[in-house]
Symmetry: C2
Subunit: 268 residues, 2 copies
């Protein structure tokens, strides 16, 4: 039974999130629906990250097992046609056939997210729902300095949702960079996996530093408190984008090994 | 009676265009409605460019006369609040008080537009309605070379809508640059004023050059034909953004002279 690795872009606004749920349309449900329309098969797909409602993706990765062999570009074009017909804001960017050891979620070795803030007095028209509107100026250098106190292997209890299901609150944050271009402030986060709401919790806390309400030391102290109550307000989903997933050399290609030890409840 | 110059951003998707029309919501109508809600005054505003349905703006400029003096930031915040309450995707970015000689349309000396093309196989999810999807690779250097044959003062009959109301088809195109960043191709156009559908006609023709169907000489020949039938397919409104309007030194500030001789039917 061939397994296909697919890279997916979506606008998170119309969806309850990646994961299939009873209370509304999900990205997973829409893609499974497109597969059913195309092949007649009821499949269950798995994504590298279970993004929340309103969170976008430019490079979510998922895998699906189909009963027949497809030319990957035929499969991509056909699935995109079915997705569009059903009125979805989802596009399959790329498909490769992989072996059965590849798992989009458990084989991932690095996940990249972007969080976008637009700091200006006027509300957002073109970027409504696509960035966090902060109607005051922010010091992105202070945000970056504060972010550096969070990089590394830590207990991120402060920065995870009370509903987070991961076994351990310990994660290794490889990168948390804050850059600015005009009114746009971008936070780029990389780790093998993230806790539920971790990036939005980090972004909300870094905003306090950018406004001058918290120092970088205050941010570090919040981390060390290991207490959810020490977290700043959680940033809205609007600004969050799942950008890219990395797999070990060869994973995602035929014949590769794809087993991993991470518990990887990536629920950003 | 104080006159206010306002810089406006909008998402063109939900509107029939800038100009008030019977057949649906317009940007002009929404802003006039917000002014009415705030001040009780029925005003008629004028924009620097009458953008078509689906065309976006990051820097449209308009003016309005109000009966009382406002602090400009109070006026901006109040208008934005009324615009949002009514569910609009319009934001007033900036307001300055100007003298009565300033006219957003007739005082403009230079208008800047951007046309965005995304060239990739997969349809657009996040950028649907915000760029022209072209599902094949394009050579932006050929597009740029073709564009340079159009810069300067020409009879642009080939590149204007049959419905264009301008007295003359002659315009001076100051700049038509094509650049690329990954799958995104950007066309930047600058002129004192444009003809109806001129930029979308130029973009549709440059696409033919980018695909290798037309040479730069073919594009030049189309211009010289001075015949609407020589134009390539008109590009969709999705990719077009009204970016910025320039006024002569001091126009847009109190006490300036703001008279202009251009017929300026800017209907891009």
């Amino acid at each position: 039974m061939p397994r296909y690795k697919m890279t997916v872009e979506y606008d998170g606004i119309p969806y309850v999130g990646w994961q299939r749920q009873e209370n509304g349309p999900s990205v997973q449900g829409a893609i499974e629906g497109a597969i059913l329309s195309l092949t007649g098969e009821t499949v269950s797909i798995r994504g590298a990250g279970r993004t929340d409602s309103g969170v976008h993706a430019m490079g979510q990765v998922m895998h699906a097992d189909l009963s027949k062999e497809w030319k990957v570009y035929t499969l991509r074009n056909a699935l995109n046609a079915h997705l569009r017909l059903a009125g979805n804001r989802i596009a399959i960017l790329d498909i490769v056939e992989v072996d059965q050891s590849f798992d989009a979620r458990f084989s991932a070795i690095r996940r990249h997210y972007l969080y976008r803030i637009i700091a200006r007095r006027a509300p957002l028209a073109l970027e409504a729902g696509r960035a966090w509107w902060v109607p005051k100026d922010m010091d992105h250098e202070v945000m970056h300095a504060a972010a550096q106190t969070l990089v590394g292997r830590h207990d991120f209890t402060t920065f995870r949702s009370a509903h987070c299901q991961a076994n351990s609150p310990v994660r290794t944050l490889d990168r948390l960079d804050v850059t600015r271009s005009g009114e746009l402030i971008e936070i780029r986060a990389t780790a093998q996996s993230f806790l539920h709401n971790q990036i939005r919790s980090l972004a909300g806390t870094l905003k306090l530093a950018g406004e001058g309400k918290w120092t970088p030391d205050d941010v570090r102290a919040a981390l060390e408190a290991k207490d959810r109550k020490a977290c700043g307000p959680v940033a809205p989903p609007d600004g969050l984008y799942f950008m890219q997933v990395e797999y070990r050399d060869g994973a995602g290609s035929p014949g590769s090994e794809g087993k991993d030890i991470d518990d990887s409840d990536d629920l950003s």
